[in-house]
């Protein structure tokens, strides 16, 4: 919105002062009267006051607790403002030849990468590794001559590294709780929640080192969860656990609630499950790239109703 008449800064300042006095201070009766007199004095005063009220009204549209959570969370995003410098050309470039890699590598290669909810990305890193990002992911890539490091902040990644003739610095995925180092070629790391992470190994092995110093080598076909202090024992991977890279999920007898929880990672907005349907068992193949199709498939096979309240709000309930 732009104003047609230009309000002098001094008047805007007066309006701001009055807003502060009346909203954040403890005004006496005399001040209330003085304010009303100021307001009556000129049309410009009233316009300035309307602008101040407009600001406060915008805040007023947001329920307090929501406002606190969202705005405080959001301010942490300030540090990632550098994501505006996405290396767009690099994102779609084919793998660098070995010589070209060396010169890029020595110069240092950094990128902030992210995917939106429901989005997946696949790209080549300067050393020829292939990085796949799953839905709602954020990571920093930091390659220098001392290290090849990915800092996973959010979401899930799959790394398929190449065997190089020249020895390269260790390839590592760092998280808030510890580091997963590639001892081979193919593994995924996922943020489960802010302190818990999951490493799944599809080829060769990975060494997890938690911040506490605990270590565990996870072999091909196994996965392990870890926090800053502790690494859980490794358990076998489900077959097809890496199928998300191809946009699919083979579900083997899971309750509907858990299935919807996982699908909601790939779907912007809310996906709610009616408690009456929550424990219905689900088996089959679901599309992660087309979650609407996945929901319709579930609706057909389990006799459910999909209620799309808005583009960002879906509920699932029995018919």
């Amino acid at each position: 919105m732009t104003q047609e008449t230009s309000i002098p800064p001094a008047v805007l300042q007066q309006a701001a002062d009055w807003a502060i006095t009346l909203t954040y201070d403890q005004p006496g009766a005399g001040q209330q009267q003085a304010f009303e007199q100021w307001l009556q004095q000129s049309e410009l005063h009233r316009q300035a006051w309307a602008r101040a009220q407009s600001v406060l009204a915008t805040f007023g549209q947001v329920p307090d607790d929501i406002g606190r959570r969202v705005i405080k969370h959001d301010q942490r995003r300030q540090q990632r403002r550098q994501t505006l410098q996405l290396l767009s050309a690099m994102l779609l470039a084919p793998p660098a030849a070995w010589l070209a890699y060396r010169s890029e590598y020595l110069a240092g290669w950094r990128a902030d990468l992210r995917t939106a909810t429901g989005e997946q990305k696949r790209l080549h890193l300067p050393d020829g590794s292939v990085l796949a990002l799953n839905t709602a992911s954020a990571l920093d890539v930091d390659f220098t001559d001392q290290q090849r490091r990915l800092n996973l902040l959010q979401g899930e990644l799959m790394l398929t590294s190449v065997k190089t003739k020249v020895p390269l610095p260790p390839l590592q995925v760092a998280t808030r709780a510890g580091v997963a180092e590639a001892l081979g070629t193919r593994f995924s790391v996922r943020v489960l929640d802010s302190g818990l992470f999951r490493v799944a190994v599809f080829e060769d092995a990975v060494r997890i080192t938690a911040n506490s110093g605990r270590m565990l080598v996870v072999e091909q076909g196994w996965r392990a969860d870890f926090s800053a202090t502790d690494i859980q024992p490794a358990i076998p991977l489900n077959a097809h656990a890496d199928l998300w890279e191809k946009g699919m999920w083979i579900v083997d007898n899971l309750p509907l609630q858990l299935v919807l929880q996982e699908l909601s990672r790939y779907r912007p907005g809310l996906l709610r499950c009616d408690p009456a349907a929550a424990s219905m068992p689900v088996s089959g193949t679901l599309s992660l790239r087309d979650t609407d199709a996945a929901l319709h498939h579930l609706a057909d096979t389990l006799n459910l109703r999909i209620n799309r309240i808005s583009p960002y709000w879906t509920t699932v309930s029995p018919l």
Binding site: P9, D25, R51, V55, T58, I66, R69, V70, D74, A136
Partner: protein
């Protein structure tokens, strides 16, 4: 008055540059549909400008597109944070979908307003506006004199007023 046939100039520009712009955006968004939408928005904004285009149309388009990208990412981030925030609420307190849209738009405006403030100013302003503290309480809590608190909040309010 606008230059004669300036809308013709834009139509020509559109023909020449729209696929370049769409690719430029797609490289940053990773989504072809969003890139197409924002590319359209960029040309609409160009049309709405009253100023002549100058001899660097691509640079101008890029400038507009960058602004749109920032807005787009801001909206996405706010929406995501909002959805995470209401997940914690009991079902009967969750705002209706229509209400949610209004709240999200308000949050996007607030985020844009807060963006322009230096850190300390923003902090003090949020203590008053979000946490509901009085100037005196803020002063006690932060060890900043009341007069300084007031000055920061005034600066914050005026910056916000410039945007509404």
């Amino acid at each position: 008055m606008a230059q004669p046939s300036s809308s013709q100039a834009i139509a020509t520009l559109y023909q020449e540059q729209s696929s370049w712009l769409k690719n430029w955006l797609q490289n940053r968004l990773g989504c072809s549909q969003q890139a197409a939408d924002l590319a359209q928005d960029a040309f609409v904004r160009l049309l709405r400008r009253d100023a002549p285009m100058g001899d660097q149309p691509r640079a101008l388009l890029t400038h507009i597109a960058k602004g749109l990208l920032v807005d787009h990412w801001r909206h996405q981030a706010v929406e995501k944070a909002y959805l995470e925030a209401i997940v914690h609420l009991p079902d009967d307190e969750v705002p209706s979908p229509e209400h949610s849209l209004i709240i999200i738009e308000a949050l996007v405006r607030i985020d844009a307003m807060l963006d322009t403030l230096p850190a300390q100013t923003r902090e003090l302003f949020l203590l008053a506006q979000l946490d509901g503290l009085t100037l005196k309480q803020i002063s006690q809590q932060t060890g900043t004199p009341v007069i300084t608190v007031r000055r920061h909040i005034q600066r914050a309010l005026m910056a916000c007023m410039a945007l509404v």
